[in-house]
Symmetry: C2
Subunit: 92 residues, 2 copies
């Protein structure tokens, strides 16, 4: 029978694999944000667009099927959006 420690260790291996996928997807998202930043810069459009940020939050809440509640999903995406915005600014 598996001990508590072995059980935790097995779940952590699964988490590590998920984290590797998350890092990749977040970086793909950052690449897309940089492309948008370049287009905005070229078109002299503002980096910060509150309406788009709201649309992103509504979208992730809508597709969320848990176990995380919608507000916690949004909480994570608020940080993601902060990071993307600072990346776009730094790239100008």
């Amino acid at each position: 029978m598996e001990t508590t420690e072995e059980g935790i260790s097995d779940w952590r291996k699964k988490i590590d694999a998920l984290d590797e996928q998350l890092v990749q997807l977040i970086n793909q998202r950052a690449g897309a944000a940089l492309a948008i930043g370049a287009l905005k810069h070229q078109g002299q459009l503002p980096v910060y667009e509150p309406k788009r940020e709201q649309a992103v939050f509504e979208h992730v809440r809508r597709v969320n099927q848990g176990p995380l509640p919608d507000h916690e999903i949004q909480h994570i995406f608020e940080r993601i959006m902060d990071v993307m915005r600072s990346l776009q600014r730094r790239d100008q």
Copy 2:
């Protein structure tokens, strides 16, 4: 030729698709965190383990290939870990 607005709109569709994958993976991670939380509760182990959190940050920095710098990846995972910890606490 594509206008700036069309270009931005295309990238946003790609971002929306990435966000749907991110929501799914984050929830899979939450499911694993809940399983660990239950094992910890059963074994009377503490929810907060600073060493494990440090190992998660080191891992995501190590596998990061950009364009996001390591500290921004960690910044996002700090929020993810906050959310996971509050989920584990709420589940007791």
